[in-house]
């Protein structure tokens, strides 16, 4: 034997690392990597040499271990277990598939004696050609797979992403299972070259089918999300309408009361009873403040906002804050319109997140103070959110927590904001802490 097992295992683990890195797009730290590498090499060489001498069956166990180890390491960065395991099993699929295709290719080129594991281990040329071809194949396949997966997954976040990666994991697991079924069949049917080739081809076909399935699956997934988003918007708008109608009713009642009051006044004044009039007036004033409070729901200020999508989300958030007992001041002093329809989806998401953060932070204080403004300046529309807060995060800290560490569910949604800004050059977000008030300004360019 020209190649000792540990070297073979090391090469294998190295290729697996490259594949995993390409698919997960996670940069690992060196010490973590080193230990994982050592562990995996030791395990697989021990397994091959002492425990399970049958090549293909040992491969099942080594891959199981690879997936577990890499999944655990990846999980520290992604925090979504199904996603981490998905990366691991996809790597296995790519790795095995590349090995398989290489085997088939070599058999086609050099003849059927290459269909034997022994030949690869005992002769230099078959060994190196196998390694080189398998490496190149797995490198490019994994890169492409990684891009594909990330492009698909980054459209979603939070629960949806988790759900989607669970489905994908199921697909990958089935693929792996098929591989291993083949392993057992292989042992039973003993080196049937033709069967091997046919099986390999059908696996490749299956893989292609899986890719198409994932594409259409994520597409319909996205459409569903959009539909749900639209439904929500419609609901918000309905709430808004109901509230405006209530306000109108309230206003009418107020006017009616007012008229009655004035009539009462006139009676008292005409009869010359100033004391009575005074009493009457004071009695009215105490109830006056209350009725004004009801009408002061700030929704009316949104009338200048001529973009229904934004109006919907803002009115919803304003009502939500008011339900929580938080006073919110809304300032829209000029007509706001003309935002590009393509910007609106991103914009609505960011606005929702920023306002949620503001509500959350202000809620902790004794006297929540929330303010919101939209204005037009130069060729930009700027949204300003301010809120007071209890524990003062320094500017740098806010971003440290949410910007440079990965992981959803960390509370503030700024991860999503960064994600959107990362691809949308029409936005600008400025954050500051000024006189104990947290201020966020979001500008969006008007396309002229």
């Amino acid at each position: 034997m020209i190649v000792p097992f540990p070297v073979l295992a090391a090469i294998e683990v190295y290729i697996f690392f490259v594949v995993f890195g390409n698919i997960s797009k996670i940069k690992f730290n060196k010490s973590e990597m080193f230990f994982a590498f050592l562990l995996m090499v030791l395990f697989s060489s021990a397994l091959f040499l002492y425990v399970v001498p049958v090549w293909d069956i040992a491969a099942i166990f080594t891959h199981a271990i690879y997936i577990i180890v890499m999944g655990l390491i990846a999980n520290r960065k992604t925090n979504v277990l199904s996603l981490s395991v998905l990366f691991g099993s996809l790597s296995s699929v790519v790795f095995l598939l590349a090995g398989y295709i290489t085997g088939v290719l070599l058999v086609l080129v050099f003849g059927s004696e290459y269909n034997d594991n022994e030949i690869y281990l005992n002769y230099f040329l078959p060994f190196t050609s196998y390694i080189i071809i398998a490496f190149i194949l797995s490198f490019f396949t994994s890169r492409w797979t990684g891009r594909f997966i990330h492009k698909r997954l980054c459209q979603f976040d939070g629960e949806l992403k988790k759900k989607l990666s669970e489905y994908l994991l199921l697909g990958a697991s089935i693929t792996l299972l098929l591989f291993f079924v083949k392993v057992f069949l292989h042992d039973i049917l003993v080196y049937a070259a033709l069967l091997n080739t046919v099986y390999g081809l059908s696996l490749a076909l299956y893989f292609a089918f899986l890719v198409i399935a994932i594409s259409s699956f994520t597409d319909s997934f996205r459409k569903e999300t959009e539909l749900r988003h639209k439904d929500e918007m419609l609901k918000n708008l309905k709430d808004y309408t109901v509230n405006v109608e209530n306000m109108a009713t309230e206003m009418r009642k107020f006017r009616h009361d007012h008229q009655n009051l004035l009539l009462g006044f006139r009676n008292h004044i005409e009869s010359g009873n100033i004391e009575k009039a005074k009493e009457y007036f004071q009695g009215y004033m105490s109830s006056f403040n209350e009725s004004v409070e009801i009408m002061d729901s700030q929704l009316e200020t949104l009338k200048y906002l001529k973009i229904p999508e934004l109006k919907s989300i803002l009115s919803f958030k304003i009502l939500y804050a008011q339900q929580l007992g938080i006073k919110i001041h809304v300032e829209v002093t000029e007509e706001i319109e003309g935002i590009d329809i393509y910007e609106l989806v991103d914009l609505c998401r960011i606005v929702g997140i920023l306002i949620d953060n503001a509500i959350e932070a202000a809620q902790e204080t004794e006297n929540p103070d929330l303010r919101f403004m939209v204005m037009r300046k130069d060729s930009k529309i700027t949204f300003v959110f301010t809120n007071n807060f209890l524990s003062s995060p320094s500017q740098a800290e806010i971003f440290k927590k949410n910007f440079s560490t990965k992981g959803e569910g960390r509370g503030m949604g700024l991860y999503t904001v960064s994600q959107i800004i990362n691809r949308n050059g029409n936005l600008l977000l400025s954050t500051r802490v000024m006189d104990g008030i947290f201020v966020q300004e979001l500008s969006v360019m008007l396309l002229l």
């Binding site: 403004m373 740098a396 990362n422 050059g425 600008l428 977000l429 396309l447």
Partner: protein, 251 residues
């Protein structure tokens, strides 16, 4: 001379404000004068036609009984007098607080009916006058980031502490200045080459302003900035950063 304008449609209120201003100018002997006290915003706008280089202190009522309100008037004023000091006089400041500050960059506001209204007016005059006389228009050294074709942001170079991106979002730049953090789409390599000295890319994801470094920790590979922020430093740039810092402190 700092010119004072008052625009308030309630005659009684206007007289109170005007008198208060005149008294204060007289007592403190300031180089100021009330040049226009009116109930109609048009009077102020016509004033600009005769005197285009005016720097003024404006006391504006919000609810003017006219076709434009105080905020719109302020926006018009800004077009003629970008350096001027605007103070709003209002009964309900709460409903326009952000508009004052961000839309028209007003200096302050005064609440009508406040018992301390006179003191507040004097305070505004004092602030405006000291800002007006202080001839500190610092040398502007703006750096303009072109975020996209139309979207730009101009930042003062000397205020920038550092710029960063993250692994997850390599195209999203955070620019940290002393007071504000700006986030937008951009390219760090491009920014590094355009910013030039005294900025230095000390890490794959960090560009630091050498002038803002307080301490260099070559063991932990950290830079402590003057505001206390700690940023990482790549191994290979330790020496380079040291020499840049020395060069800066010696010059």
């Amino acid at each position: 001379m700092l010119k004072v304008f008052v625009c308030e449609d309630n005659v009684e209120q206007r007289e109170i404000i005007e008198k208060c201003i005149a008294n204060y100018i007289l007592i403190e002997d300031l180089n100021m004068k009330v040049v226009c006290s009116t109930g109609s915003p048009n009077d102020i706008l016509t004033y600009f036609q005769n005197d285009s280089k005016v720097v003024g202190l404006y006391f504006l009522d919000i609810d003017l009984e006219c076709d434009i309100n105080g905020i719109q008037l302020a926006i018009e004023i800004r077009k003629h007098d970008p350096r001027g000091f605007i103070v709003f006089v209002t009964a309900d400041a709460d409903s326009h607080l952000l508009t004052f500050r961000y839309k028209v960059e007003a200096m302050d506001y005064i609440v009508k009916g406040d018992i301390n209204i006179k003191e507040n007016i004097c305070e505004c005059i004092r602030n405006a006058y000291s800002l007006y006389t202080a001839k500190t228009t610092p040398l502007q050294n703006n750096f303009v980031f072109n975020i996209s074709r139309h979207n730009t942001i101009a930042l003062e170079r000397s205020e920038i502490l550092y710029l960063e991106t993250s692994q997850d979002f390599p195209h999203s730049i955070l620019v940290h200045t002393e007071n504000v953090t700006h986030q937008f789409r951009g390219n760090l390599s491009k920014a590094a080459s355009e910013l030039g000295e005294p900025f230095f890319r000390c890490h794959r994801s960090i560009i630091v302003n050498i002038k803002k470094i307080a301490r260099l920790d070559s063991e932990k590979l950290q830079l402590t900035l003057k505001d206390g922020t700690v940023v990482v430093l790549a191994d290979k740039y330790v020496k380079k950063v040291k020499t840049l810092m020395d060069k800066l402190s010696s010059s």
